[in-house]
């Protein structure tokens, strides 16, 4: 059976990861025939969810906390918990006709050193099999995502903006992400590009990164952000969306 294609979007905070994730989601929904699962890994606030115009009532972390509370309750029935665990996960899944979405949420209580994570991770892995493409909007790196989500991703796109600091972060992410990625599909998208890009492009090349593509500064995104409109509503002929259309096939082809 063909495995799902898993794409992780990572990068230094503020480089535009979530906007790019939303643009990719828009493209996949409108122009490709993949059954799509989005994973919003922002712990504090469901930014990706809002950008694709959905509002999660429950996070996976809240499901995990409820599970912990039930487990440690003196009157809890282990058999009942086992019956319910897998159904409870679906309470956190947002569904519409175009995609499904999980919001991971903020870890609380017993953190990484709790076997409850293993239950969630295995269940998410299983649910992911129902989808052909999984797009994960990560925090800066992959560690938090890997705790809960998916063991191996097929494609990692590191988002940088025209700053040396964001490229240095990319180097660090690459170093830490190698164990999570199946092959060498770990490349850069240069976002918010303006002015002369020669220095940045040379630096990227010097550090042995390949460029998936360059997305220019897009006024339309700023306008949508200003009024709080979901990015998924951006016009099809916006400059950033046009660029994403060129970048996505390159990402997927490299994986093949």
């Amino acid at each position: 059976m063909k495995d799902s294609i898993k794409i992780a979007i990572v990068g230094k905070g503020g480089t535009g990861k979530t906007v790019i994730s939303a643009l990719l989601a828009k493209l996949i929904i409108q122009e490709y025939d993949y059954k799509l699962l989005l994973i919003d890994a922002d712990p504090a606030h469901p930014h990706l969810s809002n950008m694709v115009n959905v509002n999660p009532k429950k996070s996976l972390e809240s499901v995990r906390m409820e599970l912990i509370k039930r487990t440690i309750n003196k009157d809890s029935d282990v058999d009942e918990i086992i019956k319910d665990i897998d159904y409870d996960m679906y309470d956190a899944l947002i569904e519409n006709k175009d995609f499904c979405l999980f919001w991971i949420g903020q870890p609380e209580g017993p953190g990484c050193f709790c076997p409850s994570n293993l239950i969630l991770k295995k269940t998410i892995d299983l649910i992911s099999q129902d989808f052909e493409m999984i797009l994960i909007d990560c925090e800066a790196g992959l560690e938090q995502v890997n705790r809960l989500v998916i063991e191996n991703v097929d494609i990692i796109a590191i988002i940088v903006d025209p700053s040396i600091r964001s490229i240095e972060t990319a180097v660090s992410i690459r170093k830490n992400s190698k164990k999570f990625v199946k092959n060498d599909s770990l490349e850069i998208i240069l976002n918010r590009a303006k002015g002369s890009l020669d220095k940045i492009k040379n630096k990227i090349k010097e550090l042995n990164f390949e460029l998936y593509g360059v997305i220019p500064e897009d006024e339309e995104i700023s306008k949508l952000d200003l009024i709080g409109m979901p990015i998924i509503k951006i016009s099809d002929n916006s400059t950033s969306y046009e660029k994403i259309k060129e970048i996505f096939p390159r990402m997927v082809k490299l994986r093949e």
Partner: protein, 254 residues
């Protein structure tokens, strides 16, 4: 791999339930796909129905929350015991179901050659079935079967006969020459029969217990812990122990 005796025992279960007075229906799948497609008003085709069936579109769930269910897919090597294209239904057809969520069981016996068995391995991903049947969506959960059927296709006459036929042809299309024969069994909305069947199945699987024990031991080692200073001073020791019990018990359940 199941033996001839194992297959007989599984098949005999259904016959015994019939003798006990339970409803048992048998269907034979037409080997001509064109005839099949004209017989049913609902459609199927590999990767042709990737739709997400929403809660509000669902009229019937098989094995939903609060209901017992199972799915067992056995690969049988060259036994020539598999009745190719036969569907056995213990319980009533879909049109007689009054509830919106029922207990449900699915057993597939798939005959393969020796080399195919190694190639196919373990069939646990049914996304090709979920994406191949109109108005039907599987929601993956471990060791159980849970699906949604839309009101639209129920109006068109979606039945277990259709579902078994779609399964049969989708498996054949997906695996091609690797699969020789397929026989399908359903248990519909009968908790007692499901529990009894699982006991029969468990007694068969007990023969292969050693393999399961290894699986449990592997699971125990997979539980990651970042608290390096030792369990005896870990503030989450109690939760951790409780969870390990759940993990182990969950893996024991079939």
């Amino acid at each position: 791999m199941l033996t001839k005796e194992d297959i007989n025992e599984l098949r005999d279960f259904f016959e015994k339930e019939r003798v006990r007075g339970k409803k048992l229906l048998k269907y034979s799948i037409d080997p001509n796909l064109l005839t099949v497609k004209s017989k049913f008003k609902v459609s199927f085709g590999l990767n042709k129905y990737k739709e997400i069936i929403l809660k509000e579109e669902t009229e019937l769930e098989l094995g939903g929350r609060g209901k017992d269910s199972f799915i067992l897919i056995y690969l049988i090597k060259n036994e020539k015991m598999i009745k190719d294209g036969q569907i056995t239904l213990l319980g009533s057809e879909i049109k007689e179901i009054e509830e919106d969520n029922v207990h449900f069981g699915l057993l597939c016996l798939i005959e393969v050659s020796e080399s195919s068995e190694k190639e196919i391995g373990y069939i646990d991903n049914l996304s090709f079935v979920s994406n191949g049947i109109e108005g039907f969506m599987i929601r993956s959960i471990p060791r159980k079967f849970w699906c949604r059927i839309s009101s639209e296709v129920l109006k068109k006459g979606f039945s277990f006969e259709f579902l078994g036929t779609a399964f049969y042809y989708l498996f054949k299309e997906s695996y091609g020459d690797k699969i020789d024969r397929i026989e399908i069994f359903f248990i519909n909305n009968d908790l007692e029969s499901i529990k009894e069947f699982l006991k029969v199945n468990a007694s068969i699987q007990d023969k292969y217990l050693e393999k399961n024990r290894e699986k449990i031991e592997k699971w125990k080692k997979k539980i990651e812990c970042e608290y390096d200073w030792g369990c005896h001073i870990c503030p989450y020791r109690f939760e951790c122990q409780k969870f390990k019990e759940i993990l182990i018990k969950r893996e024991n359940i079939e």
